[in-house]
Symmetry: C2
Subunit: 223 residues, 2 copies
């Protein structure tokens, strides 16, 4: 399996990477929202475009691999910084920050609170149903990993109970049961309207990981 | 239902809107990919950030509503330009361009071919499972709409057969059956590895649309 990179980064180097590129990704998120909403005339938009082209020339002047992959430091901490949901270097990502602990229901699991802007719209004023699925896939997968049962998504089912308004959204998930190398996870999204989308996912430990000689001694994370 | 806006835009005005803001969104997509891959030093990243802040100040100097919504012209053509999958003004969107016609299987349906860059990554070198769900939700919904049965997503189920490599991806969907106001749609994503993700969705015509006095005379589209 390629792309899982164990590097020699120190905590200081990792913090420097975050400080250098995180604000660039955040500026792009703000720009994505502004580009949907803007009503400036073509001349102003053209000047904005020139700045974007200048920024691109600077950032593209030195690039690494074709994609970010997932990097690990010597302590086994992962950096999924290109990830489409949680990646701090990814302008497409919200980014969702997932917490681990006891849920209001009493289950051990994971949760996240985040804000969805106009770039996540589907039906007018509502979160795109597919964006809900995108985030729930990640949150459910993190619940499996937090329970020590990381895996690739096998199946994922969403039930849309009501529209999810753009704005503040909370997601949570916990492991329902484990059957061999399959982990069954349930979760949902909610707003101040209550639960909006329910999800169930089956996460599967890949064969290569099952057959690894020391399965408990290496960091496993499939995001 | 708010946010579906019938405006007075002429074809020329619509084209001008696309020509003005479409290139800005595309520049942001290129920047999102570059920001994940860049290895420039902090000084260069800082100069890029200044350009992004300048661009933001220009674009945010005059903004419309909180989100784009879906606009219709007098002929009933829709502009879901803020949509998270197909929106030409949305840097988060690929954007996927959906075609209608006969599929290789012989079914009438919809399909799309598109390229997924590093901003859509989940596991290293692979498309995020949730991004596959995001795109399939849209493609399946468009299949329902193309068959004259538009609806909000009720349920959506994905079966992940194998990893979907970043790069060229094709998606397709067709209506399997209609039961009252529920439309059952099936579809999949494929790469040169074959089918990677299968999906089934149930799309539901909202009550307000069912009860509309002239259901066939207005454009219905719930993306």
């Amino acid at each position: 399996m390629t792309g899982y990179i164990l590097d020699e980064s120190t905590p200081e180097e990792i913090q420097a990477e975050r400080d250098t590129y995180g604000p660039v990704a955040q500026a792009l998120r703000d720009l994505a929202a502004a580009t949907i909403r803007t009503a400036v005339d073509p001349e102003v938009a053209g000047r904005a475009l020139e700045h974007l082209q200048e920024a691109h020339a600077l950032l593209a002047s030195e690039v690494g691999g074709a994609s970010y992959g997932v990097k690990f430091d010597a302590e086994g901490n992962s950096r999924p910084w290109g990830n489409a949901v949680v990646g701090v270097r990814n302008a497409v990502a919200v980014p969702v920050e997932v917490e681990t602990g006891t849920l209001p229901s009493g289950h051990d699991g994971v949760w996240a609170e985040f804000e969805l802007g106009p770039q996540y719209e589907g039906p007018p004023t509502l979160v795109h149903g597919g964006v809900s699925a995108l985030i729930l896939d990640q949150v459910l997968g993190e619940a499996a990993a937090a329970a020590g049962k990381p895996g690739m998504t096998g199946t994922l089912t969403m039930r849309y109970r009501q529209g999810t308004k753009l704005g503040k959204v909370r997601g949570e998930a916990h492991v329902d049961r484990v059957e061999g190398y399959k982990t069954f996870v349930v979760g949902h999204l909610e707003t101040d309207d209550g639960v909006t989308v329910e999800a169930e996912g089956v996460f599967i430990l890949p064969r290569w990981a099952r057959e690894a000689p020391e399965p408990d001694s290496k960091p496993l994370r499939f995001d």
